[in-house]
Structure formats: C-alpha cells, structure tokens
Symmetry: C2
Subunit: 247 residues, 2 copies
Amino acid sequence: MITKADFQLVRSLADKSVRLERGLFVAEGDKLVGEILQDGGWPIERLFTLAGSPYASHPRAEQVSAKDMERLSHLKSAPRSLALVRLPERRVPKPSAEELVLCLDEIQDPGNLGTIIRTADWYGISHIVCSPTTADCFAPKVVQATMGALLRVEVCYTDLPEWLSEARKGGVPIYATTLDGDDIHSAELTAGGIVVMGNEGKGVSPRVQSLTSHHLYIPPYPHNRRGSESLNVAIATAIVCEIFRNR
Amino acid sequence: MITKADFQLVRSLADKSVRLERGLFVAEGDKLVGEILQDGGWPIERLFTLAGSPYASHPRAEQVSAKDMERLSHLKSAPRSLALVRLPERRVPKPSAEELVLCLDEIQDPGNLGTIIRTADWYGISHIVCSPTTADCFAPKVVQATMGALLRVEVCYTDLPEWLSEARKGGVPIYATTLDGDDIHSAELTAGGIVVMGNEGKGVSPRVQSLTSHHLYIPPYPHNRRGSESLNVAIATAIVCEIFRNR
C-alpha cells in the first residue's frame, strides 16, 4: 500500500540534499529498471510498478495505479516502473595516463550532463570527474538522459584544481578545448589522459585552464570561418571522444 | 503600453498553429535579438526590452518591467529583450549532389532539433529538410537551443519519401545511420549528398530507409562491443557531420 509519506519521499528525491540524506535516487522506466535489476550491483529499496510492467511480478514490486504512478513520476509521461535505488559510494580515481578520463568543469544543464554520460559510455570511458559545481548525476533528469549509461560510467565530484594538480605532477596529459587551441585533427593526441570540458557559457575556468597541458580546437567548416557560432558542450564532448578513440 | 492582448499573443505563440496563423515567432535574449536586428532579413513586428538591454533605445523598442518580461517569456529565466519576428517563407531545396544536406525523419525533442540546427551551422550545412512529424523549428524551445543558428540554416518541412524519391532519381547519394550499416570511418563518403537522421526511439522509418543508398554505422569503443547502449540523435548527427566534413 502506497502512503502519503511514500509520495513525499519520491517527490523530494528531486533535491540533491534529500538524495544524500536518504542515500537514494529515483530510476524510472522499464528499460532502466530492468538494467538495474539485471546488473545486480545496485540495491533497490522500493519498486513501484503498473500492472503492465514486465517487472510487476518481481518479488519486490509494489503495484500502483496509473494515477499514483503519475504522482510519483518526475517525468513528463509517467513510466510503467519506478525504483528507489541506493546511491553508490564513489571514490575519486587516481589520475592515470593509462586511461582516457573526462573531467567536467561546471556543466550546469542536466540534459547536457546526461548526454555526456551516455556518450562517454559509448566511447568506453569509465570515469568522469566533475567539479562540485557540476549538475548532480543522480538528479532525475540526468538519470533519464543517460539511458542507463549511469550504471556503467562512474561519475564522481571533487575539487578539480587539486585533482588536476596531482595529475600534472604525475605527468598525465591534460587536454582542454579552447577557442585558441590547436586544430584537434592535426594535434598529437595520447591514447590516455584527461579531457576537460567547460561550462556552457564560460568554458573552462581560468584556474583549471592554467593546469592543462594541451589546448585543442574543433574547427568549424569551412575551416577559415570563425563566426559567432559555437557548439553545444555535449556535442563538443562527443566529437573530442570520437577523435581520441579513432586516431 | 503592453496590453492584455499582447501577453496573450506572445504566450499563444508557443503553439505552432498560432505561429502559422499569425505568421510570427518569438525570439528571446539580447544575443539572438541582436543577431536578428543586425541580419536585417528578419522583419521584427514587436520588440519588448528591459531598461538594461542594449536594444532598449532601438526605435522599435517598447520598454517593459521585469515582472512583465517574466510574464511574456517562454524561458525559465526571463531575458532582457524579446522580439516577435515574421516567420520566413521557406522553399524546399531541389535535391543536389553538390551540397551536403541534412534530412530529419521525425525528430521529436525540441532540444535535440535545436542542437542539430546549431551543429549544422557549425559544419556549414545550409539546408535541413524535415518530415512534417519533426518538431517545429520556430517553437520557443527550439529557437532558444539553436543559439542564433536558425538565422543561417534554412529548415523546411516536406513529404520525405517524395523528396527522397526525387533525389534518388537524380542520382544524389542518400546516407542513413543504421545499426547494420558500414563503419563510417572506412566507408566511402561523397562531399555532397543527403544524410538522413531518424527518430529518437525508432530510428529511420522503413519507408525512408528503403530510399537510401548507403547505410552507415558509428561504432562504439572498443569497436567489437555492441551492447544495449546508443547515442543521442543530436550527438550522432554531429559525429556524422564531423566525419563528412573532415574526410
């Protein structure tokens, strides 16, 4: 039986502070819930389903009406299943030149963050290290936009200048995309290292930029045109990943 | 003086039918309004500004209060200027092998469409031909996401199977991204032609797919991995454009 407190809990998990306090996040939709159940490494606290969901007969499933699901859901159109999942513990990875790591310096839009996580998954990137000012990856809109990639890509939050200083001391290449960088098509790229992507409006912050070792530029077409145009940050991230992974 | 009818008009332009009936769309923000004023080819019907806008002294500017601007705006945070702009007349381009044209088969998310238009602009693509079921490019959310690119990229709507049949008869190469396509990195690509991108969930429709001449696939990394992951359609579009323009 779903209670008023249940509704309040699920709705309140839109807030990061409540997610941290309760140690839970919301996962919606049969596809994502199915992947979580199959993965096994993501403990589910509650599982609400409509009668039509393939998970309606799961031992943990609590059946709810379509109207109740609409009240529970954070999405525009209510899903057939909704789970409350334990927040995982995340450790900040040690900087290494062996793997390609994404670093996000104040990405604010939840849709952009979700798309970046999904893209990272496609390109076999296992770790994303974010500034504390970057959107939270367990916000309902981000979870939704990742399309399940959140289960495979570890996203953590830390003081970027500190973490990048450590990387720099260890000789790990640190790339950032900037407007004055070298053409990414002809630049020398290492297989591993750190790629920093900056805020939607301001780009990479000066403090972080001072810690990078290589500046890259994605040229428009035709190449000699430098207008007022720009690329969305999730798009730029994808192009950088595509080029690093296929050089 | 701003009237109740003005508020109603601006708000109602969220609806495509009202936009077509009135022949107007809403452009918000100093950057976009500035580009429209500078371009000259986009007649402005009304221009509402806050006192702090750089366009507050424009001869057409009607000054409004911050509170009124909030009521007018379709955005989460109200802009300093908002213009009602005449919808342009759009002709469907003749299919040609000389230029690279994007073709959108039922892209539904306004954010995706806006990002695709912005990316097309970056890659020097002048025409996007859409199915009538694709989101409308003059919807407030799309206009916003294009960041001004809508002024430079001509987006039109037509019956895709008919238009593609004409292209095919003329020998214009028609590419589509599919899961069974050839690796885009090694496939032969022409400088011009048509690239079709499909719906967020369903991909390119079977009818349209039957009219294409080349199927392309963007492989994940590592290349032998074919999991349940996928790329967002705006991301896939960007990668295809990046590869076509830098082959």
